[in-house]
């Protein structure tokens, strides 16, 4: 392990479980355990997987009317978010691009934020600089575990009775096996499940208790990526970045209705232009028609060989049982069913624009 890599509170447990460790966003993280990505992926869809996502950034934003304050940085409707409701949100730049995607929970007198690991220093610096009258408290003493899959509520209910009643995209405080946790019914796999913010010094204890249940296996970052890709969820830095607008990224739903009219967030002008006058390119699902996966940065061509776009995420979908991808194409080629070619190792491979997600999302909505 390179000496400048950071570790999460579960690092020793990853090594003990035979995790294959790789550098990710400055952390030494397990890309897979002994079972391998395919089995870990399938296990999460069929039973329950435990992911260490402690590398992500957690923080509280505090101050009067903090819901209105964060709206100056994001196009989401946060003022309209009910108490303990969670919203998928975007931090924007002035050009209408995306600085990061993040989760915002309305905790009443404060917000609970979760941002991407690779962006967390920049995000927190930006939020603190932009909202100097508000207190940003970094939760560096907390780990984050994701328990995902259809058996997640059954498993977690054994430790925290009633937690199975928490609704998708809502948060609550629960004692899990006696450990006080902040729990969200959310995730990055398309499955039902939870994300659990736990004090760092209790994280290994909690992880061991959850892994002690028959249904639960430890899952690495490799399966985390194939799971999110199959259900069409964006990876920041690949599918969205500083150059993609939310409209180009097909994230129109993340731009609140009221916010479109009112504005007051960076890049509002570009977002409205893209909404009203249309976009030149659009993020779509792409299904290779053969067996070969097409990876990120693969060029997409039309039937005449003109380059019309690029794959931003691509690989093999273990549940879909075939290659899956997403990427940007010129708007006129974005209709579902459009035939395109993917230029893989110099050869044109047939593919078609496909509906996202490739595998249905399954959330608990009460």
């Amino acid at each position: 392990m390179s000496e400048d890599l950071k570790t999460t509170p579960l690092h020793a447990l990853h090594l003990e479980l035979g995790g294959k460790m790789v550098p990710f966003a400055g952390y030494d993280m397990p890309v897979q355990y002994k079972q391998g990505i395919m089995k870990e992926h399938t296990h999460t869809r069929e039973a329950c997987g435990l992911f260490d996502v402690s590398h992500m950034g957690q923080a509280l934003l505090k101050g009067a009317d903090v819901q209105a304050a964060i709206e100056s940085l994001t196009p989401s409707d946060i003022k309209g978010l009910p108490q303990n409701g969670i919203r998928y949100s975007l931090l924007m730049n002035e050009q209408g691009g995306i600085r990061d995607d993040f989760m915002v929970t309305n905790r009443g007198d404060h917000l609970y934020l979760v941002v991407n690991a690779a962006c967390k220093e920049a995000d927190f610096d930006y939020i603190a600089r932009s909202l100097p009258d508000y207190e940003l408290e970094l939760l560096n003493d907390r780990a984050l575990l994701a328990l995902q899959g259809p058996m997640a509520p059954v498993v977690l209910n054994r430790f925290a009775p009633g937690i199975d009643q928490l609704i998708f995209m809502n948060m609550g405080e629960y004692d899990i096996a006696g450990i006080p946790c902040l729990v969200s019914r959310s995730g990055y796999t398309g499955e039902d499940g939870y994300e659990i913010s736990v004090p760092a010094d209790k994280a290994e204890d909690l992880a061991r208790k959850l892994l002690g249940e028959d249904e639960v296996e430890a899952i690495g970052l490799g399966a985390r990526d194939s799971l999110r890709l199959e259900v069409g969820l964006c990876l920041y830095g690949a599918d969205i970045d500083e150059t993609t607008s939310p409209i180009e990224a097909s994230l129109n739903w993340a731009v609140g209705k009221r916010r479109r009219e009112e504005g007051g967030f960076p890049g509002h002008g570009v977002v409205m232009t893209h909404l009203n006058e249309g976009i030149a390119r659009k993020r779509v699902g792409i299904k290779p028609l053969g067996r070969a996966p097409a990876r990120a940065h693969t060029e997409i061509a039309d039937q005449d060989g003109n380059i019309i776009g690029e794959i931003t995420s691509g690989g093999f979908g273990p549940t879909f049982q075939g290659p899956v991808a997403m990427g940007y194409v010129k708007h006129e080629f974005s209709k579902i069913g459009t035939s395109v070619n993917l230029i893989v190792r110099g050869k044109a491979m047939p593919a078609e624009i496909a509906k996202l997600p490739f595998v249905p999302q399954r959330y608990y909505k009460g």
Binding site: I37, M38, H41, R291, R295
Partner: protein, 124 residues
């Protein structure tokens, strides 16, 4: 019958004028679950070290290089339907291709089993 190994983790089973080529157990273990293999066409002339096949895991694509100079005789068609054979039987049913031995002198520079084992031990 002699088996030789390359530093790119390929094995070469030499049977007279011809050789069968695949990737080692060490390689399949490092790559993880194999989901696709692209094989060279029969009749293609390859130089030692030339890209001639691709093996894709869930996570990434990797090149497979010609371990010696020669002509491709056939690719293992079984891998098209069942690429996971590379994981389950890397040095058996999961072979990649058969080729002619174009230059027998090149075989002398490849590692024998003991040398390859020592090479892998040095990587961990």
């Amino acid at each position: 019958m002699t088996v030789k190994y390359t530093e790119d983790h390929e094995w070469v089973l030499i049977e007279g004028e011809n050789a069968t080529v695949g990737i080692t157990d060490y390689a399949q273990n490092a790559l993880g679950d194999i989901v696709f293999v692209e094989l060279p066409e029969a009749g293609r002339e390859v130089e030692q070290g030339e890209d001639c096949a691709v093996v894709e895991s869930v996570k990434a694509a990797s090149e497979v290089y010609a371990p010696i100079t020669g002509e491709i005789i056939e690719g293992n068609e079984a891998l098209e339907d069942d690429p996971a054979l590379v994981n389950s039987s890397p040095e058996g049913d999961g072979w990649f291709f058969k080729m002619t031995v174009g230059d027998a002198a090149q075989l002398d520079d490849l590692m024998d089993e003991a040398a390859y084992q020592a090479f892998c031990d040095g990587l961990d």
